[in-house]
Amino acid sequence: MKRRRSAEKRFRVYGLISVLFGLLCLVVLFGDILSKGLAAFSQTVIRTEVVLDADYLGLNKNSSSDEIRAANFEGLLKNHFKEMVQPDGRKERRQLYSMISAGAAWQLIEAVQANPGLIGQAVTFDLIADDDVDQWLKHDRGVEGINTRMSEVQIAWMESWIEQGMLTTRFNTLFFTNGDSREPELAGIHGAIKGTFLTLLVTFLLSFPIGVAAAIYLEEFAPKNRITEIVEININNLAAVPSITFGLLGLAIFINIFGVSRSTPLVGGLVLTLMTLPTIIISGRAAIKAVPPSIREAAFGLGASKVQVVFHHVLPLALPGMLTGTIIGMAQALGETAPLLMIGMIAFVVDVPGFINDPSTVLPVQIFLWSDSPERAFTERTSGAIIVLLGFLVVMNTAAVMLRRRLERRW
Amino acid sequence: MEMNFNQHISGQFNADLEAIRNHMMGMGGLVERQVANAIEAICSGDTRLADEVIRREDEVDKLEVAIDHECTQILVRRQPAASDLRMVLAVSRVVRDLERIGDEASKVAFHALEVGDSANTQLCQQAMRYMGAEVVKMISGALDAFTRHDVEGAVEVVRTDKRVDQQYASALRELITYMMEDPRSIGQAINILWILRAIERIGDHARNISEQVIYLVKGTDVRHSSLTEIEEQAKD
C-alpha cells in the first residue's frame, strides 16, 4: 500500500518534471527569438534636411517620372553628407557614403515622384541608414571592447548626429512592404508573405475538395476489401513520408514532366497538396466516423438514399472536424521548407509575386535564406520573420479551435 | 448461460417462491390437524379437544394474513410471470380456502361443544365419521398434489368431493326422517346438520384447492366446472 502510493507519487513527479521541461524549452525558444527578432521591427534612420537642388538634378516641377528616376539623387545625397561632416580624404568619404543605405536615394525619388513640387525646396527626410549603422545603434553603442564594424571616425560622426537628434529609430514598415533584398536594411517579407498566401491558396483549393471527397468515398462508399485496405494503409504511410521526398516528386513530376514553371506558388501549392492530403483525409475520415451511427440509421429508416444520407446528414456534421483537420494540415504546410527547396522556391526573388505563376518564395524558405546570410542584420530579420510565421501559425490554430467550437453541435 | 430452468437467475426469487409454498404447506398441515381434531372431538365427545381447535383457529387466521402478505410482496417486487405468477396466485387462493377450512373446523368444534355428550350424539355418527375421514384425506391429497404438481391426484380429490356431497345428501335425508319422527330432537338435529354442512363445506374447499393445482400446472381455470369438464382438462 505504502509502496504503491509512493510509486504513484513518483510517477506524478516524473510527469510534472517532463511538463516543466517542455515548458522551459518553449520559454527559452520564444525568449531567444523574441529578444533577437523584436529589433527587426525597428529601423535606424538619419533625419536630415536635404535641399533638392533643381540645377544639380536637372529637373523642374514638370519633369516626368522617368526623368526623375534617371536623375542623380545619389550624388545629391553624397554631396549633402559630404558638406555636413566634411570628411577628410577618399577613405573617410567612402566610409561616410557606406553609412547611408542604397535605398535612401530611392526614398527621395519616390517622394519627388509623388510630389514634383518639392524640387528646389529643402525637405526633411528620414533617410534609411545602412545596416551597420543600424546594428551599431541598436546593439554596440556604449558597449566596451566590442568588435564593431564601424571605424572610430564613423562612431564620432554618429555620436554627433545623436546629439543633434538626427540619428533615431522608428517602426520598420519596410520589413512588411519590401521584398527580399541583398541589403539587410531594405529586405522585407512582403514577397514571402504573398508567396506563402498564394501557395497556401493553391494548396487549400486543391487539397480540401480532394481530401474531403477521398475521405467520404473511403468511409462511406468504398467496398471493404483488400484493395481499399491497401489504399488506406498507404494513405496513412503517406502522412509519415519525409517531406523532402514530396519535393523530389514535385520536381520530377510537376516540373520535369508537366512543365509547370519552377519556383512558383502553383508548383509549391501542388507539392504541399501532396503533403497535406493524407492529413486531411485522415482527419476527415475520423470526423465522418465520429458522426453517430444513430443519425445515419434515422435517415436510412426514413428512406433516404446513401447519397442523401451522406450529403444531408453526415457531411454537415463532419464538416467542422474536417475543417479543423484542414486548417491544421495547412498550418503544417505553412511551416514546410524542405520540399519547396527542391522545386526552386529558394531562388532569390526581389519582386512581390502577383499571381500563382510568378516566381516567389515563402516565409519559411525566406527564413532559411536569411539565416544563411553573413550580415548581422539578417540574423535579426530571420528572427523577425520567425515571429511573423509563428504569429500566423497561432492565428491559424486558434481559428481551427474557434471554428470547431462554433460549428460543432451536440447530437 | 446455463440451461437450468428450475433455478431463477435471482436466487432470492427462488427462495421467496419456495418460502410461500412451504408456509402454505405448514398452514395446510395445521388446518388438516384442526379438521381431524374437530371430527375427533365430535365423535368422541372430547370437549377439551374441541376447545383446543377453537383456540388454535386464531393461528390459522394469522398464517393466512402472513402468507398473503408474502404473496403481495412477490407480486410487487418480482412481477412474476407464467408459472411463477400462477404459483403465487394459486398459493394466495389456496391459503384463503385453507383459512375457510379452518373456520369450518372451528364451527364443527363449536357445535361439538353444543352437542356435548347428550343422548343423541349417536345421531348420524357414522356419516360424520366417514365424511370427516374423507375430507381430511381430501385436504392432504390436494396439498400433496400441489407439491408434486400432480394433476391426476387433484382430479381424484374432485372425485372424492363428489362422493362426500352424495354422503351429505343421504345424511341430510336421514336427519329429516329423524326430525319428522321425533320433533323434540329438532334442536339437536339442527346442530348435527350444521356440523355435517361444515364438513361438506370443508370438502368443497379441498376441491377448490385441487382446482388450483390444475391451474398451477395447466394454466386453465377449472373453477365452477363439472367433474367431467375437469377430467377433460386434466387429460390434455
Binding site: 443519425i295 445515419r296 426514413l302 | 448461460m1 431463477h8 395447466k218
Partner: protein, 267 residues
C-alpha cells in the same frame, strides 16, 4: 445452448388477414446464421411484441422487415417477406418507398441535429410528399399532434430537436416516422433509454397509433410487451419459438423456453 433441431413455432404465428408476412426467413451475417427459418404474420392494426434474450435475433428480424439490414454489407436474407402480398426483397423493389411504407423508430432517440420542424419535414421533403410550404406545415403539425408532442413544442418549432428531453425526442422520432405516412411502424426497443414516465407516454402513444398503423415492437421489458401488445413472439437463438396472444404468453406459455425466459430462469 444450441438451436433446436426441427423446431416448429408453437402457438399461432399466422393470422387471417396479415399486413406483413414472413415465410421461412433466414438471415446470415457472412457465414454465421442469425435467424433460422422464421415464419410469422403481422396482422393489420395489431401491436406485436418481439421478445427474447440478447442476441436472439429479434432486432435482426425486425430490421429485415424494412430492409435496414441492406446497409450491412455481409448480411444476406433468405426466404420471403411480403408487405400486402408484395415481395419486398424482389430486386425490382426500391427500398426508398419501402422504408417510407415501413417506418422505423430506434432504441436511442436520434433526432437530427436540426430544428424540430426540419426533423419532421425531412422525410416528406425527400419523398416529395409536400407540394408547397403550406402542405409541409400541415404535415408537420399533424404528425406532431399524432405523436402527442404538438402542444409541448408548437411555440418552438425552430428550436433544435436535440434540445428536447429524452422522451420528447423519442416522440419526435415517432412523429418523424409518421410524417412520411407509413403503414407499418417498427420499433426497436423504443423506451430502453427513457424514464418510466416518458415510457408510459410512449406506450400510451403506441396504443393510440394502433388504430391507424400496424406496429411491431422489440422490447427487453416483458412488462412492456405485456402492456402494449396483442400478440407476443418469443425468439430464441435465432429461432421463433412461440407466438401467442400476449395474455396467454404471460400466464401460460406453451413452450418451456418461453416459460423459462419470461419467468426469469435464464436470460
Amino acid at each position: 445452448m444450441s438451436i433446436i433441431e426441427n423446431h416448429t413455432t408453437c402457438g399461432s404465428p399466422l393470422v387471417e388477414s396479415p399486413k406483413l408476412t414472413a415465410r421461412n426467413v433466414g438471415v446470415f451475417y457472412g457465414e454465421k446464421q442469425a435467424i433460422f427459418d422464421v415464419s410469422l404474420d403481422i396482422g393489420s392494426n395489431e401491436v406485436i411484441a418481439l421478445i427474447g434474450p440478447s442476441g436472439c435475433g429479434k432486432s435482426t428480424f425486425l430490421r429485415c422487415l424494412n430492409r435496414m439490414n441492406d446497409t450491412i454489407d455481409i448480411c444476406s436474407v433468405t426466404g420471403k417477406i411480403e408487405l400486402d402480398n408484395e415481395d419486398i426483397y424482389d430486386p425490382k423493389v426500391d427500398v426508398v418507398p419501402l422504408r417510407a411504407r415501413v417506418g422505423m423508430v430506434f432504441q436511442k432517440p436520434n433526432p437530427f441535429p436540426k430544428s424540430i420542424y426540419d426533423n419532421i419535414a425531412y422525410g416528406p421533403r425527400i419523398h416529395g410528399l409536400a407540394h408547397s410550404r403550406v402542405d409541409l406545415d400541415e404535415i408537420v403539425e399533424k404528425s406532431l399532434q399524432r405523436a402527442g408532442l404538438w402542444n409541448e413544442v408548437k411555440d418552438r418549432l425552430h428550436a433544435p430537436g436535440t434540445g428536447l428531453s429524452g422522451g420528447q425526442q423519442q416522440r419526435l422520432c415517432i412523429a418523424r416516422t409518421i410524417a412520411v405516412d407509413p403503414e407499418v411502424i417498427l420499433m426497436d426497443e423504443p423506451c430502453s433509454a427513457l424514464d418510466p414516465i416518458a415510457t408510459a407516454k410512449i406506450e400510451e402513444l403506441i396504443d393510440e397509433l394502433r388504430e391507424n398503423y400496424t406496429i411491431a415492437i422489440v422490447t427487453h421489458s416483458m412488462q412492456q410487451a405485456a402492456r402494449v401488445s396483442q400478440r407476443t413472439a418469443y425468439f430464441h437463438m435465432g429461432q421463433l419459438i412461440e407466438v401467442n396472444p400476449t395474455d396467454q404468453v404471460f400466464t401460460t406459455p406453451e413452450h418451456s423456453l418461453t416459460e423459462a425466459y419470461i419467468t426469469g430462469r435464464f436470460g
